[in-house]
């Protein structure tokens, strides 16, 4: 019998959303957490807007030693993992550690700490030959970011498969998809899976400035993330994390666990076209969607809601609109579609997992979060993007998608476990 995988615990830290409750309140209110950058002085940069999390590591219960050694993205991941574990009610001490694994996604990993260390080692950029005398003992942890899943593994003493999936902006779907495969094939019974990125640091802001991928709407930061709107002009950089306890379904059922949703399908494809560019036809994303539907053994018409990538770049919004039409046909015009990036921004590798959390909560609560700031659709984006206001609707099956640099296109299907029959 095929092993099925369900979400039994969720932890999130997002801009305006410290914890599941605050996160969901933000998403359903249609408020936005995008602001002028405060983590450093953004005035020399083209894009000066970001969605920052109000994250206090001391308040979050991290020890001084943990705070010293962990990069900000690792701190987010560990805090979310602890939340997800608590939420799942799973007693890890009673569990064979060899059957517990970790799959963590991140696109730019320790970028924040790398930049801080760089400034010390190079004397503010003046020295090409760096001074090893002022070297942090943790520099290697920032060079090679697989310390991130290791730190998460240590929270529960996991001894099963532990890995980092770093597929750029689809990392957060792909890390969870990777974990689902491991549970299905029997390599683990429980996986801590999710993603974290904290990229609001000068080098990352500058590299997106260079290709004008981020918004220049600096005079109106609260309304700067405008997916599918005619006036949108780039994405809003963000930070955040989401972690899940994923569990084999029978295992969860036996212990009477609360199940948010089943992850019933996942697929990823590459466009093999351009490292940052997208073709307008959406061919590869459509293929990923169709393959994920096949894996879930459902027809496209079963999709009740699409949690979009919706980054708010012109090329993305048109690309994914084409992908929905291509993969779902006429049903693309009926299925409500929304982008939570309009509220929490685009946290690169983390957002895929944050969107999985939003999808699971949408199923749990029967509410579709809206696309904020969508006042006038791009004429080439002619579907139902749930503008401005949340919609109450019973959701059996949700599709969430991601698209990223390197050409990655990923799709995942979540479904209400009440509709799962054994």
């Amino acid at each position: 019998m095929t092993r099925r995988v369900v979400i039994t615990g969720i932890g999130v830290r997002t801009p305006g959303g410290n914890g599941v409750k605050a996160f969901w309140e933000l998403l359903t209110s249609g408020r936005t957490a995008t602001r002028r950058i405060s983590l450093f002085d953004p005035s020399p940069y083209r894009s000066q807007v970001a969605a920052e999390a109000d994250f206090d590591p001391v308040h979050e219960g991290l020890s001084p030693r943990e705070i010293r050694r962990m990069d900000r993205a690792t701190q987010f991941a560990v805090v979310c993992a602890r939340d997800a574990i608590r939420d799942s009610g799973l007693e890890f001490e009673e569990f064979d550690p060899a059957r517990v694994g970790v799959s963590l996604g991140s696109a730019v990993a320790a970028a924040t700490s790398l930049e801080q260390e760089y400034l010390v080692l190079s004397d503010g950029g003046r020295e090409w030959l760096m001074d090893h005398g002022s070297l942090s003992p943790h520099m290697f942890d920032y060079l090679v970011p697989s310390v991130m899943p290791a730190e998460v593994a240590w929270t529960v003493a996991a001894e099963g498969p532990v890995t980092m999936v770093s597929n750029g902006c689809t990392s957060g779907i792909d890390s969870v998809g990777h974990a689902v495969q491991l549970v299905r094939e029997g390599s683990a019974d429980v996986m801590l899976a999710g993603a974290s990125d904290t990229p609001i640091t000068p080098i990352v802001v500058a590299c997106f400035d260079a290709i004008k991928a981020t918004t220049s709407r600096n005079d109106d930061p609260e309304h700067a993330s405008r997916p599918f709107d005619k006036s949108r002009n780039g994405f809003v950089l963000a930070e955040g994390a989401a972690m899940f306890v994923l569990e084999e379904y029978e295992h969860a059922r036996r212990r009477g666990a609360h199940v948010y949703a089943e992850i019933s399908g996942y697929a990823t494809r590459c466009n093999a076209y351009h490292m940052t560019g997208l073709k307008t036809d959406g061919r590869e994303m459509a293929e990923a969607i169709r393959t994920a539907l096949d894996e879930a053994r459902i027809d496209g018409t079963a999709i009740d809601y699409i949690n979009a990538h919706g980054s708010g770049t012109k090329q993305n919004d048109r690309h994914e609109t084409a992908a929905y039409k291509r993969s779902l046909g006429e049903h693309a015009r009926r299925a409500p579609i929304s982008s939570i990036k309009s509220m929490v921004g685009h946290s690169l590798g983390a957002i895929g997992s944050i969107e999985i959390a939003a999808s699971a909560l949408a199923i749990e609560n029967g509410v579709i979060p809206p696309t904020a700031n969508l006042h006038e659709r791009d004429p080439e984006c002619d579907l139902d993007y749930v503008p401005l206001t949340a919609r109450e609707q019973r959701l059996g099956t949700v599709l969430t998608v991601g698209s990223g640099f390197g050409g990655f296109q990923s799709a995942m299907i979540l479904r209400d476990v009440a509709s799962v029959t054994t």
Binding site: V108, L135, M139, S146, E159, S166, D209, A210, T276, E287
Partner: protein, 414 residues
């Protein structure tokens, strides 16, 4: 996909760049002859640093191998990865119509991304201003760069991914590529390549506390030796073409290098735990996955960190699985330095060559192995004899363990 199809995973192409040899055969010749690729790092003046030796690739001119438009947008590590993939695909001789684009994927591992490239961009940002940062920085740095670039160059549109697990990641990539094949994608390009030999990458590696401070290139990295005192870092790696056996047979693949017969990964318990480290379990799970008994294994390619307590732990794991001196153990990486994500794939390629030529290469300059390690380490000269099954081990800092079983494919069954 045919339910009864032969879903074994074959290696049908190899591309390799190592500090002691550019290209598979040159590397193999150097490895058997004991020629080291370790020398004083020449990229910049290392005289002020406590560590000066590296396994550096010499004589590589990217412009000879890659189109000029790719050069400004790629770090040196990505150039190596692209060339290794080119060579692996050329070796596999896959016709353009053998597969559809979605039937071909890419799974790579990476430890430090396009690090030298990004170091230059950090310098531009902080000395000349944000407007001078390269339009390529957003994708030349991140850990998925090699997967993306290889996918684009060869129009491979199937399931693809990039994994990070320090030195264990390269075997994880191969294991995940095999999983991807078993799930129905018949061809996957996989492997790992790393390079972080710019001054920032260099001091970052020094901060690991595991690098050898020795100055004699022949005595600096001595895995399992009584004089072991750390490792020498290197650059390079290998890419492999993996194919489902039924698909390789259907297209009459010209060469079957061997089979990826088993794979497993485990993670060590946290520091202070009384539970044993996970390497032994990874080895046992990989053997079980392959359906191979320890007695069937002809050689173990060790992780061979060169740090005494880690060498001892690995020797214990090997003895626990195979019995004391129960199997020949080797570490040809003593001649290349540790290549991070490139290390495992190079060892897998080396294991396939051992199978082909019936010879186990030696472990660099290691001479004296402590008696109580209880391992039969192949030293000084190659050891001849038939090799049909090899176990490749890798460990990544912080607790990652991975193991791959490589097996010969007799010609008549290919």
């Amino acid at each position: 996909m045919n339910e009864t199809a032969d879903m074994r995973t074959y290696v049908t192409g190899i591309g390799l760049l190592a500090p002691n040899g550019l290209g598979l055969e040159r590397y193999w010749e150097a490895t058997l002859e004991g020629r080291t690729g370790i020398d004083t790092l020449s990229r910049f003046d290392v005289s002020r640093y406590p560590v000066r030796l590296a396994g550096e690739i010499d004589g590589f001119d990217a412009a000879e191998h890659l189109p000029s438009r790719l050069l400004p947008q790629t770090d040196v590590s990505t150039r190596y990865a692209l060339v290794a993939a080119d060579w692996a695909l050329a070796d596999a001789k896959i016709d353009q119509d053998a597969y559809t684009d979605y039937e071909m994927g890419v799974v790579t591992s990476n430890a430090s991304g396009g690090f030298e490239f990004t170091h230059r961009e950090f310098d531009k940002l902080w000395t000349k201003g944000p407007e001078t940062v390269s339009v390529y920085e957003s994708f030349a740095w991140f850990y998925a760069v090699n997967t993306g670039q290889i996918s684009i160059r060869h129009k491979l549109r199937g399931p693809s991914s990039a994994l990070v697990a320090e030195q264990a990641g390269g075997l994880d990539a191969i294991g995940h590529a095999r999983r991807t094949i078993k799930r129905g994608t018949p061809m996957v390009v996989t492997g790992g390549v790393d390079s972080a030999l710019d001054p920032w990458g260099w001091v970052s590696q020094i901060s690991s506390g595991r690098l050898s401070t020795a100055t004699d290139p022949h005595r600096a990295y001595l895995p399992f030796d009584t004089h072991a005192r750390g490792y020498v870092p290197g650059e390079g790696g290998a890419m492999l073409v993996l194919e489902a056996a039924h698909a390789a047979r259907a297209r009459t693949a010209p060469r079957i290098h061997g089979e990826i017969a088993g794979y497993a990964t485990t993670f060590d318990p946290p520091a202070g735990s009384t539970r044993p480290p996970g390497l032994r379990r990874a080895a046992e799970l990989a053997l079980a996955d392959a359906g191979v008994r320890p007695a069937d294994v002809d050689v173990v390619f060790a992780d061979a960190c060169g740090v005494p307590e880690l060498d001892r732990a690995e020797a214990q794991a090997i003895s626990a699985v195979f019995g004391e001196r129960g199997v020949p153990v080797t570490a040809p990486k003593a001649l290349t330095g540790r290549l991070y994500s490139g290390g495992g794939p190079v060892d897998v390629a080396t294991a396939l060559l051992s199978i082909r030529d019936g010879v186990i290469p030696p472990t660099g300059g290691t001479t004296e192995v402590p008696e109580d390690y209880g391992i039969d380490l192949v030293r000084a000269v190659p050891r001849s004899g038939p090799v049909s099954t090899a176990l490749v081990l890798a460990r990544g800092r912080w607790g990652f363990n991975a193991a791959v079983v490589v097996r010969a494919v007799p010609e008549e069954t290919a």
